[in-house]
Each structure stands twice: as C-alpha cells, then as structure tokens.
C-alpha cells in the first residue's frame, strides 16, 4: 500500500468523522425538552464546527505521522535492504550506497530490465517486500492514531464545548503558515544562491569574477589539457546585459511607451482607449519565447542585412541590436502602464490651471504633467530595466553566446541570463567551477534586480504620497 493511498484513506476517514460528529452536534442542538439553559440556545458552537473539530483530530496527527514517515522511510528501507547484501560486496561509502539504491529502484520501477550490479536483482525483491511491510505498519499506526484522536475529539463534544474556538485556532495557524511561504521562498533563493556561490568563490577569486574581462568557462576535463584553463571574468557579461537590457531596449521602450501612455491618457477618446489598451496588454502577454523566436527568425537576419548594406563585412547573425530591439518592444506595455499610472496621479487642478492659462494640450503635457510625473516615470523605467536585465529567452535565442566587450550593436554579445542557461543545460557536475559560476551569476542578477526594485518602488511610493 503506497503512502498516497494511505493519505487518501485518512482523508476519507476524516470526512466520515466530520459527518458523525456533525450529527452529534445537531443532536445536541435539537435535544427535546431542554430548558433555556440546557436547550438549543446553550450550545456554544454550530454542528459544522463539532464536525470539523473531530475531523481535524482524526486527520492531522495521522497525516503528520505519515508525512514524517515519508521523509525518513527511504533511508530506513535502504539500510534494511543493504543489510541483506552479502557482506563482501556490500556498498561501503555513501556514494556507493546511493548508486546501489538507485539501481535497485530502477529495477523495481521497471526502468532497468536487468541491473548491472548482480546484487541489485535480489535486493530489488527485498526492497519491495520491506517497503510494503513498513508501509503497512505505518498505515496501521496512522489508523490507530486517527481512531484515538477521533475518539478523544468525539468525547469532548458537549453543549458548552467551544468547538468553534478550537477550529478557528487551527485555521489561524494555517493562515500564518501560508504567509510564511513567502519568507521561506525568499530565504530559499538567497541561501541556495549564496551557498553555491561561496563554493564557487573558493575556486575562483571574487575580485577576478567581478573585474576580469575574459569569460571562457570551459574548464579542462583532463588536467594536462591545453588551452582550456577556464577564466571567469564576468565584466563582458555585465556589459552585454546592460548594453541590451538597459541601453538598446530602453532607447526603444522609453519614447514609445511614454508617448503611448500620453496619447492614451490625454488624447484618446474613451472608445479608442477601450480598444488600444487591451492591445498593449496582449503585447505584454505574449510569452517571451515567442519574442525570442521572432527575434531570431525575422529581426536578426534583417539587422544583419542592414549591417551588410552599411558596409560591415563581418556582421554576425546574432546581434545585440536584434535582441535589444525586440526586448524593447516587449517592455513597451510595461513602461506605458507605469507612465499611465504616474500621469493619472498628477492632480487634475495642475492640468486645468495650465490649460486655463492658454497652453495647448501638448504644452501642458510637456511643461506641467511630465515634469510633475517625472519621479513616477523614472521609478517605472527602473522597474522596466530590472525586468529587461532579468529577461532570458530573447537573449538566449537572439543575442548569442560570444562574450565580447564591444559597443558595436551589430556584434554578438552575451548576457548574464544567457550564460546561466548555457552553463546549466547539458551535463552537470556539481563541483565544477563552470556549473557553480552560474549560481554566482544568478546571485549578482538577484542582488541587482532586488536593489533596483526596492529603490524604484520607494521612488514610486514617495511620488504617490506627494500628491495625496
């Protein structure tokens, strides 16, 4: 019997307990001949709470037991299985044990017909037997625990028992646990990035990583191999990221996004706005992989042909310009919606005042609205930059992997995100500097986007408060 089946049975049991206890709760409420003190009015909680109370006592302790068993079970079963292997060929180190057990599991799941290790085939039978025995035992223990919990919970049901208070306490704890997931995720990100990055910085100095200008992460497979020592100077990647995400993309996105927002908020009729705004939202909803495909298939060849017509002979088919242009278009709706918010937040009185003085609409926008909304717009642009430098698929598909330190937009550059994808796909060894460097890059990316976001959100917030 698998643990999933046991869990489902427990949930079913809890449902049963709910209905029984709710019936008892109803019986308490409907007791005939009760006086004001002993009759319906004196029951503290409604029947459903009596039901939930007992159901929780049936389910929670037993499910906790099963969850705990699920965590430790594989280790315990592995110990038992390995004990049955003849002592002479018993795997000794932790690594050997893991390899042996994964082979055994492969045989059990039918992924491997015949194990390479002759001991694994008999061990597979032992594994199946041990596992089903232990799971049966765990199931029995859980059932006993459920019965005990249920009986105890049921015995407490009285007219004056505060079932609602007890159930609500559990609800509150569930709510608190759910909101702790956010903190756990943040810590998970920080710790996993830091942990692997520290291992990387034990192999490569942090100064070289942050200031070196050569990036070629190929480490030698054999020690005597020539020319592949691996160098981890990430400056070309940082430059490529800034060049594509913060310069080219923003040259496209800021004017277009801002003008689109101005037109939508100041000029467009309500009906035109109803059509044009969702259009921008569609642009924002197109998956980035589609933009990447489009950049690689349509924009990049066009950019290369343009470069060739300018007289560049070595124009590459993967260029910073192609990736940056498409990324800029992807960011337009984002910039536009931030600018939209910022402009609408400017008090109507300022606009009316300017118009009353005889300024045209465009003069009002240029000389009053945009200067007044500038902090909000700048905050929005910073958020857009943070989005652009964290964007992955467009640069993976259109920007290339050559780590060039160049300001020529027709050349291929690479970015932090493209390198992370490159380093972590394919075969991975988790102790090579090459793989670990991806986590160091991830850490840099995380820190920079985090700082940008915090700063930009603070700017936007202060700006909003200034006009409230």
């Amino acid at each position: 019997m698998s643990l999933t089946v046991i869990s489902f049975l427990l949930v079913g049991l809890a449902l049963l307990a709910y209905f029984i206890a709710r019936a008892k709760g109803r019986a308490l409420t409907a007791r005939p001949g009760g006086t004001a003190r002993t009759g319906a009015a004196a029951v503290h909680s409604r029947p459903a709470y009596h039901g939930s109370f007992v159901a929780l006592w049936v389910a929670l302790p037993a499910l906790a037991l099963i969850a705990g068993w699920a965590v430790v079970s594989e280790g315990v079963i592995a110990d038992r299985v390995i004990d049955t292997v003849p002592a002479a060929s018993r795997p000794a180190t932790q690594l050997d044990r893991d390899a042996f057990m994964s082979e055994v599991r492969g045989v059990v799941n039918g992924e491997i017909e015949e194990a390479f290790n002759p001991d694994a085939n008999p061990a597979a039978k032992v594994y199946v037997a041990t596992k089903s025995n232990y799971n049966l035992l765990a199931g029995a223990a859980a059932a006993a625990l459920a019965a005990l919990g249920g009986l105890w919970g049921y015995s407490r049901l009285r007219p004056d028992f505060r079932a609602r208070t007890a159930v609500e306490k559990v609800v509150m704890w569930t709510l608190i646990l759910a909101s702790l997931v956010a903190i756990l995720t943040t810590f998970g990100i920080v710790l996993s990035l830091l942990f692997e990055s520290i291992r990387f910085f034990q192999k490569v100095s942090i100064v070289e990583f942050l200031t070196g200008t050569t990036w070629s992460p190929q480490t030698a497979i054999r020690a005597d191999q020539v020319g592949s020592s691996g160098s981890f100077g990430a400056v070309p990647l940082f430059w490529g990221t800034i060049f594509i995400g913060a310069i080219i993309a923003m040259i496209v996105a800021i004017p277009l996004g801002l003008m689109a927002a101005i037109y939508l908020t100041q000029y467009a009729h309500a009906r035109a706005r109803r059509i044009l705004k969702p259009l921008l939202e569609i642009l924002a909803g197109v998956p980035t992989v589609v933009y990447g495909f489009f950049a690689a298939l349509v924009v990049a060849p066009a950019v290369r042909d343009f470069a060739v017509s300018l007289g560049m002979t070595n124009a590459s088919s993967e260029s910073a310009l192609a990736a940056g242009l498409v990324m800029g278009i992807m960011i337009i709706p984002f910039v536009s919606s931030m600018a939209d918010d910022a402009i609408t937040a400017v008090p109507q009185a300022m606009r009316d005042g300017s118009l009353a003085m005889g300024a045209t609409t465009s003069e009002t926008i240029r000389k009053v609205l945009v200067p007044a909304a500038l902090p909000g717009i700048v905050g929005g642009v910073l958020l857009a930059v943070s989005r652009a430098i964290g964007e992955t698929m467009i640069v993976v598909m259109a920007a290339g992997l050559a780590a060039n330190l160049t300001a020529n937009p027709f050349q291929s550059v690479t970015t932090v995100t493209a390198q992370i994808v490159q380093l972590l796909t394919g075969d991975q060894e988790f102790d090579s500097a090459k793989t670990l460097s991806a986590f160091a890059l991830g850490l840099v990316l995380f820190v920079i986007t985090l700082l940008l976001n915090i700063y930009a959100l603070a700017v936007v917030k202060r700006y909003r408060e200034a006009y409230e």
Binding site: L175, Y263, G285, P287, V289, T425, L445
Partner: protein, 431 residues
C-alpha cells in the same frame, strides 16, 4: 513687471501676422505631438500584428502533413509473427513485437525510384493499423504513410523552385520524385494526426505537440493546486488578520520582491533545492509545477489582497454585528465576494506560468521526450520549452512546426485571458 507696467502695456493684437504665425506654430507642434503619440501606439500595434501574421503564415501548414500511398503486404514470415499467436490471448503483445520496418521496406521498395520519399518512422503507422485490425495479417492493403520532410515541404510549396539546387535547400532528385508521385496521384496533404496527437521526435514529419501540451497541463495542475490555496490564505492573513509588526512587514516586502524577481532565479532555486537537495526527479512536471508555483503565488497574493480590500467594511460590520466570529466573517462573507477578483488574478498568473520557459530549462524540462507523459513524475516537456527546442533545430521542417506550436500556445493563452476578462465583467461588483 509691476501692476503699473501691466496696465500701461498695449493689449496683445492677436490678429497681427506675427501673433497669427505664433499661434499657427503652436498648433502645428500640438498636432505633431499628438500624432507622435498615435504613431507610437500604431507602431506597437503593427508590431503585434506583424508578429502574429508571421507566426500564422509560417505555422498554419504545420498542422498539415503529406502522406504517400504505398501498398503493403502484412506477411507473417516477414513480420516474424506466428499467425496462431496473433489470434491468441497475447495477440497485442505478439503484434507489437513484429518487424514492421522490414514490411515497410518491402512496401516502399515497390515505389521504385521514389522509395526515398517515405519517412523513416512510417512503420509506426503500419504497426498501429495492424494492432487495430489484426485480421489484416497476411493481406495486402494500400496505406497512406507520412512522407519525409522535404517532400512534405515541397507539397506545401515552401521552396522557390526557380532557384538553383544549392540555394533552395532541396535536391533535384527530391523535386523529381515529388513531381512523379504527384502525377501518379500517390500524394495527399491533409490535417496531420501525428502532429495533433504525437510527442516530440527528431524528424519534423513525426513530431507532435500533444506530448508538450499534456506536460504543460500537468505542470499547471501542480502549480494551481499549490499556488492558489497558499496564495489566497496568505492574502487573507495579510489583509484581514495580520497586526502591523516587523514580521508582517518582512512578509510584505518578501512578496513584493518575489513578484519582481527574474524568472530564471526561480529556476536556479528549483535546481538547487528540489533537484539537488530534495533529490526529486529531473524533467518531471511535479518539479516544474513546484517551481512555477513559487513564482505564481506572489501574483495571486497581490491580486487577492486588492480583491479583499475592495470588499466594503460595512459587509464585515454587519456580519460581526449579528454575532459572527472574525473567521466566519472572512470565510463566509468577505471571501465569496472577493472570489471573482481573486480568480481573475489567478488566471492571469497561470497564463504567465504557462508561457514561462527559463525556469523549466533550469530543471531539465528541455530533455528530449518522445512519449506523452503519463504522470506527475514521468519525464515531460512543456509547450514553451517545445517551442524553444524546435526553434533551435536545424531541420528546415521544424520552422513551421515551431510556429504551429506557438499558435497552440497562443490559443491557450487567449482562452485563459478571455476567461479572466469574462469573469471580471460578469462578477465584478462596484460598491
């Protein structure tokens, strides 16, 4: 300028040529500015239109495939199937084990010079046909089998035949074979069952989108079943119960930042925690779903808080006033009223998760998976990852398959967003 000067200044003569020119200049700049705004919007819209046009132009034929008619004899000796076994209880297993490649080779050889036009995987069609109808064993039938990719593309007119052989990407021999077959009426192009029901393959004509679609659905199922409850409960806690203190502030800052963390960072988290630390299976929908759930739940929390906040306090006061507890107020009154808003936010978050590629690449969902996934732990790929993989493939036939896969992905996104808009319009209440 003091008041005496103002009073003594002659009034502006608006009719003077100088003033007229000035006003005309100002109006001109006004109209230029206005048109610049319109131009920006039109540019964005035309880019979207161009993108969709390119995808549809390249992609609609990806749903079609070209078949060649061959005549096949299901010869039991060639197949290596004992006719008695094929009628026995284990008939399906016996048929499954047959040597269909040999049968196909024999059938294809009858085409003569044009034998090279049939896809290498065509025998799969024969096996399926025989397993569905075992009575065909020993008989000769004519079967439509998939043509190889270059013939398929020729039939769809993807090559410019006026160009010399080396530039157009297809050999003269293939063109000649194609013309012969077409003249003999042995070709037909129609809706491709393989593309709609199959999984990934190394040859374009045998690749299908169904495997990736199932992978995406399984992944989204995990994401939804984790992110929705946690997100909603978290939003309820923060909006209705949390006291303002350092912990609550920390939770709020975390959620706001998590919503803006680049998606690839979640991929790194999934790789380090779920795969390396917890030792979960690579390329599995459950890991992809977990990773995307972490990414989606801040979006749901933020949408949920806005929806809960918009429920007017009078509802809460009324329920509290007749003796409901705080928990009862929230779960029996506030939550049902906030639910349409929460659902809209959830669907939008799920649509984002559906289009997300980078985190799935990190946790190994870019593996080549030629089977449709059957469970949460079997190797799978997802629609956007399939797009990425096919766009990377050098075989020319994959260009239209990539665009077709993008069309499938966009249709799903369109459906989800329409559902969100419908829910918003139908159930949203203004108080």
């Amino acid at each position: 300028m003091n008041s005496a000067q103002v009073a003594s200044r002659p009034p502006t003569d608006w009719a003077s040529p100088k003033m007229r020119a000035r006003i005309a200049r100002r109006y001109r700049s006004e109209s230029i500015f206005r048109n610049l705004g319109l131009f920006a919007l039109v540019l964005a819209a035309s880019f979207l239109a161009f993108l969709l046009f390119t995808v549809v132009r390249d992609g609609w034929q990806g749903f079609l495939s070209t078949d060649v008619k061959i005549s096949v004899t299901y010869d039991p000796t060639l197949l290596g199937i004992d006719p008695a076994a094929a009628k026995g209880p284990d008939a399906q297993a016996a048929l499954q084990a047959g040597d269909f490649q040999a049968v196909m080779a024999a059938g294809v050889a009858k085409l003569g010079d044009e034998a090279d036009t049939v896809s290498e995987g065509a025998w799969l069609v024969l096996r399926k046909q025989l397993m569905e109808d075992p009575a065909l064993l020993g008989k000769t039938v004519s079967v439509w089998v998939p043509a190889k990719s270059s013939i398929d593309l020729l039939a769809k007119g993807k090559f410019d035949l006026a160009k010399p052989e080396l530039e157009r990407g297809v050999s003269d021999a293939d063109v000649a074979h194609f013309n012969d077959l077409k003249k003999a009426g042995l070709l037909r192009t129609g809706l491709s069952r393989i593309f709609i029901t199959g999984a990934d393959s190394t040859s374009p004509e045998l690749a299908g989108i169904w495997g990736a679609t199932v992978g995406s659905l399984l992944t989204l199922f995990v994401t939804l079943s984790l992110a929705f409850p946690v997100g909603v409960l978290s939003a309820i806690y923060l909006e209705e119960f949390a006291k303002r203190n350092r912990w609550t502030d920390l939770i709020e800052v975390s959620i706001n930042n998590l919503a803006a963390v680049p998606s690839i960072i979640y991929g790194l988290l999934g790789l380090a925690v779920f795969l390396n630390f917890l030792d979960m299976p690579r390329s599995a929908p459950i890991v992809g779903g977990l990773t995307l759930a972490l990414m989606t739940f801040p979006v749901i929390v933020i949408a949920g808080r806005v929806a809960i906040k918009s429920v007017p306090p009078s509802i809460r006061d009324a329920a509290l006033g007749i003796g409901a507890s705080k928990v009862q107020v929230v779960f029996q009154h506030v939550l049902p009223l906030a639910l349409p808003g929460i659902l809209t936010g959830t669907i939008i978050g799920m649509a984002r998760a559906l289009g997300e590629t980078a985190p799935l690449l990190m946790i190994g969902m870019r593996a080549f998976v030629s089977d449709t996934p059957v469970g949460l732990t079997s190797p799978a790929t997802a629609l956007p990852v399939q797009v990425f993989l096919w766009s990377d493939d050098v075989a020319r036939g994959f260009v239209e398959k990539t665009s077709a896969a993008i069309m499938v992905l966009l249709v799903f996104l369109l459906l989800m967003n329409s559902l969100a808009i419908y829910l918003r319009n139908k159930y949203e209440r203004r108080w």
